[in-house]
Symmetry: D2
Subunit: 337 residues, 4 copies
């Protein structure tokens, strides 16, 4: 952290900053210029927020250097985190594709989808049993019944299952049925939930909040890792910007940025990022070309009658073509699907 | 809702849209132009999301007309919602000021602050016992001990207490000590929490998410109202934009906009919106002038040693001057503090 | 400027940064920590961009401390800039109101409006003769004919005139007719235009770009000031954010922020910021309460038939009520209209 | 366009909307529901802005359906626009790479760069002679001298030249030396400049404004096309969002979106989009995989001493590796470099 003093800061004010740094068990490096004084704060300052210094008189600005995240950083662990999902390694040479409907709607729907995505090469079945909805009057998911159907489809098709968990108290229930616990974008800073999935020791798919910076995203992962649960998969799913033509704006650059800052695997959700089926394929290819470790894609056997998000769901034959298309880019990247 | 068909949409595709509308128990109004066809969807479509139609073939775009919120809207209830907080009416002629530290730190700190803000004219004491923090290593609040200190300070100073609750399971505990339950910006779409505070039948202070639209904000309020809990206070606290000079960008226009769309009282948090003490006074005056029903302001007896957010906290004498300053604008608006 | 070296930066890389600083005629202050090294750059670094250092090997990040603006800053000139506009002082105790239609449409329209706004207390008549339009097929203004009508209306009503100039070569023509040259939001970084209005030595109304930071805004003013033209009026008119309910998001906090950074007067355009007549009054009161020195408001005698922006224009009787409303807030602020 | 009436709109208000539509030579399609009335506006409404209707009483909202652009749209011209640049076709099977320094600094620098990028496979040399700079005190480019050096380098290396033109009056001068005129992001809505480059009948590289929507971008292209100049190349170069880790946020989805809306070729500027050399390669691969027709990349023989933007410039050997890397993705897409 760098503390920048105001132009007219007094010696006393500088002294108070230095003493504050000492109190916190850190070291100060003073740089006194003609116009202004700068104080470098050195030591392990994870957990110390800039506001601790911003509140001191004579301070103009505090510049944080490192995100406070530690376990999530490449500085802490330089080699990529790789772990198996249903027999395949995520974070390694293989591109992992997760696919399925937005919401589990019926036994038929989920089994039909599971078989179709398995056949086309997916490794993981996605499907929501508990759905976060903007309006209290929208379909909220089938709940535990949905979890049971997911487990059934997994067994029938031979896939792992990822599904969203929305509250800490539901973690044990969802963990009974799912192979990967998903924390949704709206819950990225639901800290009680992050603690709970951390404690579950299940693999976690953590989606970036649509209003969250990369630093906040990695700090959210840190909450999970700090429970000694290293199996975290990050997911970029688009951020909210002024552009409204697509539902969100996929932050493609976040992929190489996060690869440089962290050792965790990262996948992309092209369906929520674009909100429209017709753009899913192009941005998925882009994600692989940018270095993503996988994708999570919405597939529905009958999008026109889907209870949610039909507009962004691929039909099974479209998903097959999509997988063929992806393979070429994956091979160009020296990877496999 | 208006469904806009693609230029080359076939009769069959239009027919499928019409039949979908019927299935949902709604009425269609067809407008067939030379270039394209438009279908108006009429009836109670709360809870029906645009994606239901977007997924149909031949559909170019769906334009939602009303937010799906109902109980929160002025259409539903035209007169302002007014209810008492500690003997004063919020939503009426009086401007309610809530003040106190970001976090409860000690008995001394909270009692000293409570007495100071009471003396200067505040009605409600704010203070966090459970703190949402970006990093798991930051100070997370005193927990139940903090709640007890808040209750003690309330009794000593004669104020109501507002404090944040972060998870559904903590609602009963927090409700024991607090007069108003606060749902923080990061939890604005934590739907389980919204249900829980709705069921508590306590007054709720709902903060706008820092990247939430006004429609999402009112839908979040709808979750609470739908539990037959009408005592919701909205709080604009700044949104996230490209401008980084201040912590967030206060959306001042949201005040008259929300007043036109909803009957609920709305207050402003100038401390989080600006992040800097020196701008708190100017934006608070602006909030009152724009029609806000109150303010929630951070006050700390010793900001330089605050455990969080010191940079944006007023000192007690500054708060006194602040209240004097506000009075003039309040009177110009025909209101009282 | 502060140059932050990478964790593993070599001594050689640090040496190269130091030598670069020297080459530029500046002084370096080295702060070497256990983990990383920080170099403070001291001296007059206006005009030196962070990228000069960012490109050096071993550099992680460069933190600019001051905007490079100088003449526009309070450090350069501590007292407020005040100058007369049609006999009244802008930047002083008086709130200056500029009002008129979006575009000059006819002699009747502009004279009728001029008389109405004069009567209600406006000091300056606004009206576009050259209109920047998103589409080449939209009405582009009456051109020189519009300027003549503005000048006529000025003489009839006794007001100053502000109107937009869109290209450097039009500056002499527009300067013949206008008392204040307006640089529109889309042209805030049209540097050739900034030079030209600077050289004109006319008062300039500079609108903030809808995508511009406060630092960029003040740097744009610097272009004008650097031509020895001190009569610059800044205008906050809303920025572009994810919120689409209103046309733009008025950045109310920019007012006290700019007042703290710069000595220049600043006014607010509530019409473009909100895009809707019904919110103009509330945000104008807020602007005055936040410390703005004036307003520029759209008024049209017949908004339903306006050629542009009718939805945000007040009718003359609405404008009269608006002025009455503002007076109360102005008086609460110790100012006059 | 769809005009949505307020719930309580009177018959008279509806009638006024209908008569307005008629006045404009368009047709109305009335859809009267129990709750509200919707009016579809049919006919050629290019150039008619929503505000024409928004200003009418009883109107709640106007929904524009088509951007007003016409010549730029796929509806107008369904097949891709392809035209030759220095013997290669842009918009066709070949990926066109434009490369060179941010600014022309010296004869040596530009010739050395030209030879290096030619050797590695670039088709076009980029380099700024007139530089738009945030601060008036920054290096503003070599001016005409820079243009001459570019022309010299073109002849020596055998490349086409693209360079920025900042004002209408400079168009003839720049057109003498350049093969492609570049309109920079800050000038995307400098309409006088758009007219001038349109009239020049030179190929134009039009950069997206950093806070411009896709619709505004295509409308800016429309200005150029409307002068019967069909050779427009669009360039996505990142938009401004809340994320500050990278300079801008590359809107990767804009590529397939624009390909669906328009027939014009589109390229990507990974250097300005990311601001950092280390991410240029990954996002360039992503751009190709998303369907871009080319790239414009900053290359500098000595980035550490570049006068601007060194941090984002590739060194010649890095550029060679970059081209090799791109080829694989291009081939996977069935394209050539």
């Amino acid at each position: 952290m760098v503390v920048v003093m105001k132009k007219n800061a007094t010696d006393e004010e500088v002294a108070r900053v230095l003493s504050k740094i000492e109190t916190l068990g850190l070291n100060a490096h003073l740089s006194r210029g003609k116009i202004r004084t700068i104080v470098g704060v050195v030591g392990d300052n994870s957990g110390i927020e800039p506001s601790v210094f911003e509140s001191l008189q004579g301070v103009e600005r505090v510049v944080p250097l490192l995100g406070p995240f530690k376990l999530a950083s490449r500085d802490f662990k330089s080699e990529d985190t790789v772990f198996p999902i249903d027999g395949r390694q995520i974070g390694g040479k293989t591109i992992i594709v997760m696919a399925g409907p937005c919401a589990v709607e019926s036994k038929e729907q989920i089994i039909q989808t599971a078989l179709a995505v398995k056949k086309a090469g997916a490794t993981v079945l996605r499907g929501g049993a508990f759905k976060p909805r903007t309006s209290p009057y929208s379909f909220q998911g089938l709940g535990e019944e949905g979890l049971k159907l997911l487990a059934l489809a997994r067994d029938v098709a031979g896939l792992a299952v990822v599904t969203e968990v929305m509250t800490p108290e539901l973690v044990p229930l969802v963990a009974q049925y799912a192979d990967i616990l998903q924390v949704g974008a709206r819950n990225m800073q639901n800290f009680a939930l992050l603690h709970a999935v951390g404690e579950s020791h299940k693999p976690v798919l953590l989606k970036r909040g649509l209003m969250s910076t990369i630093a906040e995203f990695l700090n959210a992962a840190e909450y999970i890792l700090s429970h000694n649960n290293p199996r975290v998969i990050l997911c970029e799913r688009g951020i909210r910007t002024f552009e409204t033509y697509t539902r969100n704006t996929l932050d493609i650059t976040a992929i190489p940025v996060i690869k440089s800052l962290s050792h965790l695997p990262i996948i992309v959700d092209p369906s929520h990022a674009t909100g429209r089926r017709e753009f899913v394929c192009a941005v998925s290819r882009a994600a692989i070309a940018a270095g993503a470790d996988g994708l999570i894609v919405e597939v529905h056997p009958d999008p026109e009658n889907a209870l949610s998000d039909g507009a962004q769901s691929l039909r099974p034959p479209e998903f097959e073509a999509f997988m063929e298309d992806l393979k070429k880019v994956a091979h160009a990247m020296g990877r496999e699907i």
